[in-house]
Amino acid sequence: MIDSPGRDVIEVSIFGPGKGESVLVHLGRNEWIIVDSCISARTGKIPALEYLDEIGVDARTQVRLVVATHAHDDHFAGISKVLERCESADFVCQGALVKEQFLALVEMDKRLYPEVRKRALAEYGRVFEIVQDRASAHDGILPLKFAAQERILLDDGDGDGVRVLALSPSDQAHVRAMQALADAFAVAQSSRKGASIDPNELAIALWIEASDKTVLLGADLLKGPSGCGWGAILSFFRPATKATVYKVAHHGSANAHHDGIWEQLLVADPVALLAPYRPGKPVPGLDDRKRICSLTSKAFITAKPDLPSPSKEVRREIADLGPLARNAREPWGEPGQVRARSGPDQADWDIHLVHPARALTPA
């Protein structure tokens, strides 16, 4: 069995890139939060839950929050399964997602592609069912929290200093999202299309204080647009203590980079954790890697940013795709894990890499 962190040891683990990426945080006192979901494309299993099993953590009782930072399936694929296991956890999402406008899109999605195996919003449909089912066990109170700028999601306030704060989405981002959701709803006689909205600006960035450690999880939050993203956070948030660990936003891509993150929110030379995104143009790209490595000497990635070597099964399937398919690839590969742990009064973090994780290099 892999060793579990001590009661006072803070851990941040990132898993990916399966279908999605996932971050696990041990807040101390055997309490955890899970941020986003990752499914291994090769095994269909959820590495974060497997890991908790391996270290003897009971996900049913020891996970306090399951956070879906945004509705892109490279972050929420499989999150309903995570929530199913984490019976005591509150589910955290953006408030916009329980508004009539978004729920209408979920229902549209359900009707639009009833026979399609992978529907974009099916995960949310299932999550809301679970949340509603559990309300009866909570005196009718839904185990649900909405993230918004400066909203505290967890605050034990008992001297141990465990606090989870949402830094986003901003009110402006919420307004934009509501407008986009309303625009996405179909009108009669229009083509039966699914809704296509870009929820990255709604992503939930988290500020976590546990014991004497501070961690910033950047989700897929982008720089802007105006009044949204990192620009909005940096305009109001000036923490007394800077973060020593940063889950790099949006897989390290340039559109999520803001110098202010590194200057205002992070210590010099922080631990930077990221998972690559490879289905489209792979990120982090070469320029992204150079930039990140120029900002810290302690950057780690769960797998190489380039495409994984295809297995025999994948090569066979690619050959069967026929001549219309170009550049066919299996971009997910095997998910790796980067684990950072730090004990009380320990200034630095111990890094453990699980294959194919590695140190990020500029080239």
Partner: protein
Amino acid sequence: MASWPESANGFAGTAATLASDSPGVALTSTSEVPATAVGPRRGYFNRSPWRVEQNVGNASPPSAEPDVVPNRQESAARPSAEVIVGLKKWEGRILEISDELLTVELTPSDHDGPELVADFNAALLGPDSSSAALGDIIYLTTRTVRDATGYPYQTSSLKLRRPGAWGEDELREITDIAKRQAELFKET
């Protein structure tokens, strides 16, 4: 139901048919087996790498398509029938659209296999190419056909799912359901 006309060079191959109402065109590619495996070429075998299938109507889910029917004119011209010896289908979701390329996540729909991502020329969707959007569903079908001489070749087709139009009653029903669900979350 309709079969496509013979192409200019006289090759029609096996036919895919599609049900229903609005006309569309799907491009189908044929790929040759390696030169060493190809037998002597005959007139009708002189096919171009692409041919255009005229199809009619909305692309159906994989379970319903494609039916395979012989082209009567072609059958008369051929020395013997071609046989489909392999058929594989994938369902795909459009992840990205850029530079006239669709990046699609493909899931096998009639066999076990890994999920893949591949790029397709958007023009392969014919008149549907302009309406293809992120999240739309496409169907990819590949067929391995053994010709009269016993040699195989592969054809494939890409179609956008066109599930018709939203009805007023249906949208009202969706709105009502969404309103009821939103009420449940209101107190949170």
